[in-house]
Subunit: 435 residues, 2 copies
């Protein structure tokens, strides 16, 4: 199978109109995707996307186009016969590396492209991505993992040993996942732009649907936070789980002080308390919270495996929030899952946005079957926006993601959605912008 | 004075033809600039650029264009009356922030734009940038500095105290700089693509010109490195300074082992031994080299003040290599200079590329006059490429940068150079590419 063309689309949804997704750092996101379609000579297509929140999406689309020479006219088998080499190849252009390396716009583009190749591979094998990964041998997973810059934290041999200890019991965990699904928490009730009564109503609706863990955005105003935390705790009761998320608004000392005020509401974690680059800052915050029951969580803006490595080495996080499209796609997430397992830190993926739920369910299911071997105390984020645009949207039953069964990475958008929301010439934007 | 237009140009020089700039990570760079011109209603222009090595330069140009609404039709005085707020304003678009934040393509673009505003400000004041900065009061410098995310390392009050201790003695250091210039080292002899005999010849030519410190690229092959280090040490003698630079090619343990082999040649520093993101890795390497006389240096790929903060907090570097256009321009470099002074780490800027020498001389001169108060053991990198394209190229006498005297940031390129090397439609590229 040969890749004959790469199409990159700028897809934007006008979510800012409803304040969906609003938080202390991001008041009015327009959930967007820099979207890739790999055409092949068999008719099969690989789809991938990276998530942004609006302006600048065009830069990521342009960066995807800059990677096009690395994909066009290549045979899929060239990539899949050595997936580790494939990763190095995609991130290895020395000139493009300068404007990263492995971070920012260029790495977001890398994620979309690498995920599109994995989607194509899974479709070619007729398996959902999680099953493709779960069926790979430990040696194959190790070979697909980029170890550059992380061998001081985990060697290929250590990774192999870690995977081999779970190899024999994979079938029973796969059966468990197929029967029960993977636990989720909901962020839908707690956006910062929502009035108190809407939060209260959404908590009640969430409880009725079986949700047991709820995340609330905090960090704009302490009195607001205290009032909003009280509402959620009152609605969900003392036993269910509350998480809080500050979206990077604080400096280190400020974070420690602010979070102390929220401790009476017993949040499981404080998410993104400060700059995502601040390994030592997160470590200081996590240490200050030692013994309180609240731990630091971060990851959605942690830009590559080198940063995750350090968060783990420094004891900076209690929860590792991988993102499917901030780092270099499935390939780099293998490295992060392996490190998290070695360091004994729970992986609770970032999701929401557009397509991130569809993506990360595969990674968590694979993590459970083959890497961590446990779902204990782990949750995938769930946000109920924009799933209607996907050919195979996520299915949630009783607050659990149900294992996707179609071949691929579940990230393919409906043709009608692409046609309407491609910016600025799709039919929706044309009518709004009068372009 | 009002900014009436922003022009962004993609300027590329075909340096790969000569292997100038070749190193273990970057075999064939085409030194390039994403170039900004701010037009004003007075005729005065602010110029700024960021440096890349070729492909991808178009992405940075597009990112500069994405910042255009933040500049056009703004009055210069709006920015200069609160330069700290100006920094927050330029990096503060919540949607553009998502594709950074403050890193990669978006932050390279930020650097060009912020530097162009500082260039315009210095021209409007009729002073070279270093003099504009040196004449600002401690309170004004503190006000111009972005402190977000670094207050756990330095507070505005600490910065103020640090600046005030040097305030009275600024005139004598300014006089010293005007008389002697600022010390430099040369990288021109040691590119990885140069054959041994060229290195030997360039060392001799360098010595004849008065150079006392020489940098050599290493990291591709250990036997090559041993032979090349021996050549340089043989040519420059035991007393002069040798630095070595690996351009990020090693993992942490490998770096420690490789550098041990080079210690007999007594390098002052090992530059970029591993991933620029690896704070803890650099700390481990620096610690392993404790007592050897060789210290770790890094900075040209350190993407913002939060990363520099941690390198300093972790004791990871003996030399802090600021870059004029990787971080958010003059503004963010103020924060880095202040932190380096507080932690007692010497600032030895990264230069070379195109325009970086022209830029960083201003920052080091200001550092000497007002922040560190010392040139002891400090050097600015010097590379003798592409200076002919600048209206006010750097002047080196006896291995010292001579203080630039024209108003502005010395970064304005000659109109003929812009016309020839704008990619792909400038006259040079047209003739080569036949477009």
């Amino acid at each position: 199978m040969k890749i004959t063309d790469l199409i990159a689309l700028d897809v934007r949804y006008p979510t800012s109109l409803q304040r969906d997704g609003s938080d202390a750092m991001n008041p009015d996101p327009d959930y967007s995707a820099a979207y890739v379609i790999l055409k092949t000579d068999t008719g099969l297509e690989g789809h991938g996307l990276t998530f942004t929140i609006g302006r600048g999406n065009e830069l990521v689309v342009a960066a995807i186009q800059a990677l096009e020479p690395y994909l066009r006219n290549k045979r899929l088998a060239e990539f899949t016969q050595d997936l580790g080499a494939f990763y190095s190849y995609i991130v290895g252009d020395s000139q493009l590396r300068w404007i990263g390396p492995e971070k920012g716009v260029m790495h977001l583009a890398t994620a979309a492209v690498i995920n599109a190749v994995w989607d194509l591979y899974a479709k070619a094998q007729g398996k959902p991505l999680w099953k493709l990964l779960a069926d790979m041998t430990p040696a194959e997973i190790v070979r697909a993992t980029p170890f550059r810059y992380i061998t001081d934290a985990i060697t290929p041999d250590e990774a192999l040993a870690l995977l081999e200890r779970l190899e024999a019991s994979k079938p029973q965990r796969e059966a468990e996942i197929r029967a029960k699904g993977y636990p989720a928490y909901t962020t839908s009730a707690g956006w910062l732009g929502y009035p108190d009564e809407k939060i209260r109503r959404l908590c009640r609706e969430g409880l009725a649907l079986g949700w047991t863990a709820f995340k609330l955005k905090v960090g704009r105003d302490l009195q607001d936070d205290l009032r909003r935390c009280a509402i959620v705790r009152e609605e969900i009761g003392p036993e269910r789980v509350l998480m809080v998320d500050a979206n990077q608004v604080w400096d280190v000392h400020q974070a420690i002080e602010w979070v102390r005020h929220l401790l009476p509401f017993r949040p499981l974690w404080i998410e993104e308390p400060t700059s995502p680059d601040d390994i030592l800052g997160h470590a200081a915050i996590n240490q200050a919270l030692e013994g309180t029951g609240t731990r630091v969580a971060t990851g959605e803006h942690v830009h590559n495996r080198v940063m995750f490595k350090q968060l783990l080495q420094a004891g900076a996080v209690g929860f590792c929030q991988i993102d499917a499209a901030r780092v270099g796609g499935v390939s780099e997430n293998l490295a992060i899952l392996l490190m998290a397992a070695k360091f004994g830190v729970k992986v609770c993926p970032h999701a929401g946005g557009v397509g991130l739920c569809e993506y990360v369910q595969h990674l968590s299911i694979f993590d459970h079957i083959a890497v961590s071997g446990s779902m204990e105390g782990r949750y995938i984020e769930y946000v109920d926006h924009l799933h209607e645009h996907f050919v195979e949207p996520v299915i949630i039953h009783n607050a659990h993601y149900q294992a996707p069964l179609q071949p691929g990475y579940s990230i393919e958008m409906k043709p009608a959605s692409l046609a309407a929301y491609t910016y600025p010439h799709g039919s929706y934007w044309k009518s709004v912008l009068k372009v």
